[in-house]
């Protein structure tokens, strides 16, 4: 129905050191549709983060390629959320959320207004002058999201961005952030260890094999939501079935 925004074909990547090479990805192929929320799960150490680093252009593929279909044939902007919020303690929240704009010399009045509006929309109004340590875990995560969104990326890469939060905060923050990303119409690729997170947040779950990673199974997720609450996805009737199917796939892989 919608167009592809990203196509990964026969991607391979290895890490090298003097004691030998470690293949992280081998012949990995998948596509991501525009506006889709894709979750990638896999055994630990299977090279999930490597995929994101390759998409973000922090690493270059050894074999295969990544094709982007941005607007007007341009490469779409990519935002990357890391495992921790990495807000800089020596900057206040405003200076933190505008870090990307500052680096790219895009601190125009228009962009400032946009960031101010995001702070307001995401419940951080009045915190611009505060230090990161004065914010709660959830607020810090939202500030990190604003920092990423400030550069108006079309694709968001989420590398277990909620793993450092405690469980309770994690449930609400992950649902909250997924809602923000959907509302903004962004494409997102989420890497996670947490199957319930993958099922409840995404449109499609990719299960990767052990290292070197390739796509082992794929589950489109269709949930019937009982209500509009943050945790609605986890109450959906289909939730447990998806969870068990993915669990099954992963368990086979771990044996």
């Amino acid at each position: 129905m919608t167009a592809d925004i990203l196509k990964i074909e026969h991607l391979s990547y290895s890490y090298h050191n003097l004691s030998g090479e470690t293949a992280a990805l081998s012949d990995l192929s998948f596509t991501v549709k525009k506006g889709e929320f894709l979750a990638i799960v896999g055994p630990s150490g299977c090279g999930k983060s490597t995929i994101l680093s390759l998409i973000a252009g922090l690493l270059s593929p050894e074999e295969g390629g990544i094709t982007f279909y941005g607007q007007n044939g341009r490469r779409p902007g990519i935002g990357y959320m890391l495992q921790h919020d990495h807000l800089f303690e020596w900057r206040n929240i405003w200076k933190n959320v505008t870090l990307g704009l500052e680096i790219q010399h895009k601190l125009t009045p228009e962009n400032r207004r946009r960031v101010e509006k995001m702070l307001k929309d995401y419940g951080l109004e009045g915190f611009a002058k505060k230090k990161p340590s004065e914010l709660s875990g959830g607020m810090r995560q939202r500030a990190a999201l604003i920092r990423t969104l400030a550069l108006e990326p079309e694709i968001l890469l989420l590398d277990e961005p909620f793993s450092a939060l405690d469980y309770q905060t994690r449930l609400t923050v992950s649902a909250d952030i997924a809602r923000i990303i959907r509302a903004a119409g962004k494409t997102a690729i989420l890497i996670t260890h947490d199957l319930s997170e993958a099922v409840s947040l995404s449109d499609r779950v990719l299960v990767l094999s052990r290292r070197p990673a390739c796509v082992k199974a794929e589950f489109p997720i269709r949930l019937t939501l009982p209500d509009n609450s943050l945790l609605a996805a986890r109450m959906a009737p289909e939730y447990t079935r998806y969870f068990n199917q993915i669990w099954e796939e992963l368990s086979n892989e771990n044996e």
Partner: protein, 274 residues
């Protein structure tokens, strides 16, 4: 971690909190008085021993003789130029060490090749006793303020470069990755992450530098000066004016303390701001 200050201000302070704060203050008051007592006991013992001829006051001087010597040197104003010269030389060496170590550590951080090539040389220069260089400096630069400043720099510089470079390397690599994901360059990672995160390390490095610069300056003054506290100490020993010698040493103590306190003050201010 969150907004503790606000809650504690709004609520009335509990009895237990008051007791805790009181015991905290009592502890600090005790330390302050104990320090003062140690100093007074030392001076008292010294004075008494000299008075009763238990020690030879010609060699060991005494607090009253030191005070008299200090006052006479203040009166004939010779002391101020000596203190001024030593202070000037120390501050100039310190500033140059701070600047040069920052520049060199940055270059080493930028180029891994350069840092690997230069590593053994830095290690050698750092462990070499710099007093061995002083005679060479005199031949090259003559006797005077230039030689002394270079001596001051030479003592502190190499250690400062190594320790700054090490702290640059320890800057959070994930935060640097973040800068790359925001489209930054290596230059951005340095100015946005490495340098700001190393400010505490730079300040504590400065505390070491100021002490070492003073060491270097005094070594320089021993060998190549007509002015300064180092010169005064050496001259005092040569003419057996031990009152003058000990007075100079005590002034040196005061200067070392003062310079250290200034940097600690800056550090304190920075920590409060952050």
């Amino acid at each position: 971690m969150k907004t503790n200050e606000q809650t504690s201000m709004a609520q009335p302070v509990s009895a237990a909190q008051l007791a805790y704060m009181q015991s905290h203050r009592r502890h600090h008051r005790f330390i302050r008085y104990a320090r003062l007592t140690v100093l007074l006991c030392f001076l008292g013992l010294w004075e008494t021993c000299a008075d009763r001829d238990l020690i030879d006051s010609f060699f060991f001087s005494s607090p009253s003789r030191v005070a008299a010597c200090f006052l006479s040197m203040v009166r004939d104003k010779s002391l101020f130029s000596h203190i001024g010269v030593t202070l000037l030389e120390t501050v100039v060496s310190f500033l140059l060490v701070s600047l040069l170590s920052l520049v060199f550590a940055t270059l080493l951080w930028y180029s891994r090749k350069l840092s690997e090539i230069l590593e053994p040389y830095l290690v050698v220069l750092n462990s070499l006793p710099k007093s061995a260089l002083a005679p060479l400096l005199i031949v090259w630069l003559g006797t005077g303020i230039k030689t002394i400043i270079v001596a001051g720099i030479s003592v502190a510089l190499f250690g400062a470069i190594i320790s700054l470079y090490t702290s640059f390397l320890q800057a959070d690599s994930e935060k640097q990755k973040l800068v790359y994901t925001l489209g930054g360059t290596r230059r951005d990672t340095f100015f946005k992450v490495v340098l700001p995160s190393c400010v505490p390390a730079i300040l504590s490095n400065m505390k070491v530098n100021i002490g070492l610069a003073l060491v270097g300056v005094i070594i320089g003054e021993f060998l190549a000066a007509r002015q300064g506290l180092g010169y005064l100490i050496l001259y005092g020993s040569q003419v057996f004016q031990l009152n003058m010698l000990i007075t100079s040493i005590l002034i040196l103590c005061a200067i070392a303390m003062l310079l250290y306190q200034i940097i600690q003050g800056v550090e304190h201010y920075y920590k409060k701001k952050i």
